[in-house]
Symmetry: none
Amino acid sequence: MPRTTSNKGLVLIVEDEPSQMELLSFNLTAEGYNVLRAEDGEEGLLLFQENNVDLVLLDWMLPNTSGLEVCRQIKRSKRATDCHVIMLTARGEEDDRIRGLDIGADDYIVKPYSIKELLARVRSGIRIRSAAKVDDMLTYGTIKMEINRRSVTIKNSVISMGPLEFKLLQVLLESPKRVFSRTQLLERIWTDNLDVETRTVDVHIGRLRKAIRAVNNEDLVKTVRGFGYSLDNIS
Amino acid sequence: MPRTTSNKGLVLIVEDEPSQMELLSFNLTAEGYNVLRAEDGEEGLLLFQENNVDLVLLDWMLPNTSGLEVCRQIKRSKRATDCHVIMLTARGEEDDRIRGLDIGADDYIVKPYSIKELLARVRSGIRIRSAAKVDDMLTYGTIKMEINRRSVTIKNSVISMGPLEFKLLQVLLESPKRVFSRTQLLERIWTDNLDVETRTVDVHIGRLRKAIRAVNNEDLVKTVRGFGYSLDNIS
DNA sequence: TAGATTTGTCACATAGTTGTTACATTAAAT
DNA sequence: ATTTAATGTAACAACTATGTGACAAATCTA
């Protein structure tokens, strides 16, 4: 189980040869990336769809679903802009390389490659993409919110909450450590329904806390007596 | 039904002369293709409709239904785009050849032909089509959708549904796990007809679920209360 | 044209969410 | 230590969102 508090990025490796997989996985982990491994195309696609992957290292010769198809599916999906695809081709597979770039792979590396070069390409790929990704994702400490999946996780455990609690957390996450007054929160979140007691905010903060507590015993929502609430790790 | 796991492709031969059939069948099998044999047009059509055929070798002079008719039927069917038709004509049947191409045959070979040339044409035909086919497939977990053929399968069982449910599933499948609001779905799917209630989306989601349920008891369409729907394996 | 299929809306049942209140608990001020 | 105001939270009724069968209108198909 890889420790997940690294913020370098999540790399998906799709490679059927165990020795290659080990080599890549070891080096990327050592550099601080989180690594997901898939041994064939189907598994790769599934992992891609289920996780917020920053970069894919994709072997071109795969059992079952081909690298070509995996790449096409990735690039067709609407998360495509977020994710950099580097394909790994054997020398001489020039046709595939051209088709791969046609379909939208962002880069390719010819085997055998130097690990140093590969790591450099990965770094650059992640750098390019990390900017675009921000709109869809909010992070603070171990909390991750993926807005268009409406999903919140703490330390990779999913938290479920009502719509208002979600919005509330979203506002807090957009400016961590900032203290919001009850009135400010009402204005931001209860945009249409204006005649709501300020005490209602307290109740929903309580509900948010309860949802978080189901997974994490440390209270991440701080009460600032006399002012309001903020998101903060208390220590 | 008889779909083995060779990845070269499935070829349907429609030819009434036993010696020709043997020659073709032997050579194609030797090259690694899967072969289906039909001795007349009717059988050919039947086999075509029941199998996922990549390429048809179609003799022009046939008992019962003529090659012309078979070709027309194939090209009229919904899987036409997936399937390459090569017609085999005797020297001098120029009229038929022109008519064949008119109707949508993709290539023709004049008898007597060299096997080498025929194999080359088959290879090229399959290559063209498999690229096209890959382009029109969407996958998530055990769901597979072939867009041009308008077919959806879960765990290899076919699901039938109305056109709107198909589009709906297609949109969801393009971004699995992403939550779409009813309005977003209306904008994407009801592009022309703009005055539709948002509740209509619910009804069609229900119909999609029902269609899926006929085959798979796990509900793959997730309701995200207060926001909309997404495609997801719930666990 | 007849028959089948598809479509949009409605009505009702069910299930989840929300705002409020009342009481408990806490923190600060005296 | 006592008082006071602010905050936490369980409970509950009202409200809102969703699932779904029924049905008539529209559309397609043979």
